[in-house]
């Protein structure tokens, strides 16, 4: 395979267990390609210890003997405590897969995931699993589909507490649920209702309550507002921000709506075809996007302004047409925490 450049990069890394092969991958060469050029921490702010460190994460799905879907193909990023990291990209870009691999709904094919001091990429022992299940929580996209219709909301919210024995008495359990319901803007009486008795926005609040009652360090919000109405979206996002300010939890906010991501995130990662093509602070991405895919995403945002909208034509980006090969590119550092996946020539071309 295209060996010259990436291979050289990897040599430096060989001491790390990045090369650990997790069974599934058919060709070992691809493993070696793991594009993590430099350990990200070096470029990032050194003062803070990241909460989540992802290096060369791969998630492949073997369809049959000949065909493997490389949903995520070598992704590095870090998330710091207390921040909101937005992951954007079109459907099929692998952003949701990353979320699901992180919380170990899938078994990662390769790469290393470090979460609050634990290695959660390989086989986990019982105590690690249990800690992960408490400290990392997920909010799902469809608030109707993710709540068990046969259970009362109180039961749904308390299920995590039940499993991990996080209360001493029934009274304490009830109290915790009631408090959580109040926090997300519902009333304690709602605990005795069923999901179908709630509106979409309220159901999403229940989903948030279920995630936050465990007091997680990281919450993965997978398209958690895209199924809601505009006016309700604003409510839910504001609620998530309030809860973050209160509990200091960290969000991985997965979405395709860049305008909302810009609004809520501190840092953003842009995914395309299983690769993280650009990452940086919100400011860096929005004012100084380098990668043509990021630019096309930015140009596709609708603004509520008829004056500029009518004449605006969205940029199109076709990586085949432009001859971009994500496997050849390396993470180029552009100052701050801004990284772009590009080869040297591409970087020159794009920054002109």
């Amino acid at each position: 395979m295209d060996n010259c450049e990436p291979l050289l990069k990897v040599q430096g890394l060989s001491s790390e267990p990045l090369l650990e092969v997790q069974g599934l991958s058919s060709e070992p060469l691809v493993e070696v390609q793991g594009l993590s050029s430099e350990p990200l921490v070096e470029v990032q702010d050194l003062r803070r210890e990241p909460l989540l460190k992802v290096q060369g994460l791969k998630q492949h799905f073997v369809m049959n003997g000949h065909f493997t879907v490389k949903a995520v193909d070598g992704v590095d990023f870090v998330i710091y405590p207390g921040e909101t990291y937005g992951l954007v990209g079109e459907s099929g870009s692998g952003k949701s897969t990353i979320g699901r691999s992180l919380i170990r709904l899938y078994k990662p094919t390769g790469g290393k995931i470090e979460f609050s001091g634990m290695d959660i990429s390989g086989k986990m022992d019982k105590s690690t699993t249990s800690r992960l299940r408490i400290e990392m929580q997920m909010i799902f996209q469809d608030p109707m589909a993710c709540l068990n219709p046969r259970k009362k909301v109180g039961e749904i919210i308390a299920q995590g507490l039940d499993i991990h024995h996080l209360y001493q008495s029934r009274a304490e359990r009830k109290e915790k649920v009631a408090q959580m319901l109040k926090k997300v803007g519902l009333s304690p009486e709602h605990a005795d209702r069923y999901p179908h008795q709630f509106s979409g926005g309220q159901r999403q609040r229940v989903g948030i309550a279920r995630a936050l009652i465990m007091n997680p360090k990281l919450v993965i919000a997978d398209e958690c507002i895209s199924a809601l109405d505009v006016s309700i979206q604003a409510q839910v996002v504001s609620l998530m921000q309030d809860l973050q300010a209160e509990t200091g939890t960290t969000y991985l906010f997965i979405a395709h709506d860049l305008s909302m991501v810009k609004y809520i995130s501190n840092r953003i990662g842009v995914m395309h075809m299983g690769h993280l093509v650009e990452t940086g602070t919100t400011e860096e991405i929005f004012s100084n996007a380098i990668h043509p895919y990021t630019k096309s995403l930015l140009s596709a945002i609708h603004r509520p302004n008829p004056k500029s909208e009518r004449v605006r034509v969205a940029l199109s980006y076709d990586y085949k047409e432009q001859g971009v090969d994500y496997h050849k590119g390396i993470q180029q550092h552009l100052g701050g925490s801004h990284l772009v996946l590009a080869t040297a020539e591409e970087l020159v071309k794009w920054t002109q």
């Binding site: 505009v230 309700i232 810009k262 596709a300 945002i301 509520p304 009518r310 605006r312 034509v313």
Partner: protein, 362 residues
């Protein structure tokens, strides 16, 4: 509408629809007036459950079985087969007549999810020509040729080859293009788009919108666009109708709605959208949730969520107040006796910025 050059295609008057459900009657539409003219794009904006889809389904005569029209008329004017102009009330037509003369032939609809509107067991070519064979009695060969042209028009490369594909072989954006090609197969003069881009990616959304815009201009047809995304409305619409709880609460040209909104709900909708160029100040959220239409609504349906609500809002439903020839809003704030209420400061600043055209691209 006084303008003589605008040719009316459809006129909805005082439409009320009730759905019989297990828990009681739901008054989904409570008196809707709507006009559509040839060559214009009319957007209907509202939250889910506000009745925007139901209105258009009624206009196409494809309402759900438990729906019942309480009152109203939907007059549709079209050029019949013998080239004479004909006006019919869609609500009075028999299902069979509708199928033969209207559905798919003169009024076509594009739905939200392209996967569910295509038949997974049929090649897309056959699905496109189906309408032409049935409505236009076209020969198979002629229809096939036209279908290829339509696919090309809808922006699909390699159209000839794609005709023999099945829906699952295409991506979401491609499927939606196929659905658009099917809708255009019989040269309709009214195209109803029910959130056609909601299920698609942002980059593809923009492309599909541009496609619909282009088709509308080229064919000079009337496009009705149902959406909850004001950004989309800003891009394509000429006229905007804002719906809330089964009523149209504000209508006007796109400039009037975006630059001079009068109804507090429209204010809320506009300020709830994250602005790309604003610093990260707190997003405005309309408090509460839409009313349950199971219960009878006393007064203004928006009053409980409206920080500017007056006493009269609780008792009497506001009529449509006229602001200009094209701009109407149903709020008591426009009554001469009402106290003077200005729109929220954030929105004012934003509109000011928009007017000055300062908003560039991120």
């Amino acid at each position: 509408m006084e303008n003589q050059t605008r040719k009316k295609v459809m006129e909805i008057r005082n439409l009320s629809i009730t759905f019989r459900t297990a828990v009681g009657p739901v008054h989904a539409i409570r008196g809707v007036d709507l006009d559509m003219h040839r060559g214009e794009t009319v957007a209907i904006v509202g939250e889910s459950g506000s009745g925007k889809s139901v209105t258009m389904k009624a206009a196409m005569g494809i309402m759900d079985k438990n729906g019942q029209v309480d009152s109203g008329t939907i007059f549709y004017t079209y050029l019949s087969d013998d080239k004479t102009e004909k006006t019919v009330d869609i609500l009075q037509m028999k299902k069979k007549e509708l199928r033969r003369h209207i559905n798919g032939k003169r009024i076509a609809m594009i739905f939200q999810d392209p996967m569910t509107s295509l038949d997974p067991t049929m090649m897309i070519g056959r699905q496109i020509i189906e309408g032409m064979l049935w409505h236009k009695r076209a020969t198979r060969k002629a229809a096939w040729g036209k279908a290829v042209k339509l696919l090309e028009e809808a922006g699909i490369d390699d159209a000839e080859k794609r005709m023999k594909n099945y829906p699952h072989q295409l991506s979401g954006g491609m499927r939606q293009r196929v659905v658009i090609a099917i809708a255009l197969a019989c040269d309709p003069d009214l195209l109803i788009c029910d959130e056609p881009t909601t299920a698609l990616d942002v980059t593809i959304q923009a492309k599909i919108l541009e496609l619909i815009q282009r088709i509308q201009k080229e064919r000079n047809i009337c496009v009705i666009y149902i959406t909850h995304d004001l950004g989309v409305v800003a891009k394509i619409a000429d006229y905007v109708n804002v719906m809330y709880a089964g009523r149209i609460i504000e209508k006007g040209t796109v400039d009037e709605i975006f630059f001079d909104p009068r109804h507090p709900y429209t204010w809320g909708l506009l300020s709830a959208m994250p602005d790309m160029d604003m610093s990260n100040e707190r997003l405005f959220a309309i408090p509460g949730s839409p009313p349950n239409l199971l219960h009878d609504i006393q007064g203004d349906a928006f009053a409980p969520r409206n920080p500017f609500a007056l006493n009269i809002d609780k008792r009497l439903e506001p009529p449509m107040f006229r602001i200009s020839k094209t701009h109407f809003a149903a709020t008591w704030l426009l009554d001469p006796r009402a106290p003077k209420v200005e729109m929220p400061e954030i929105l004012k600043n934003r509109i000011q910025a928009m007017r000055e055209g300062e908003i560039g691209h991120g």
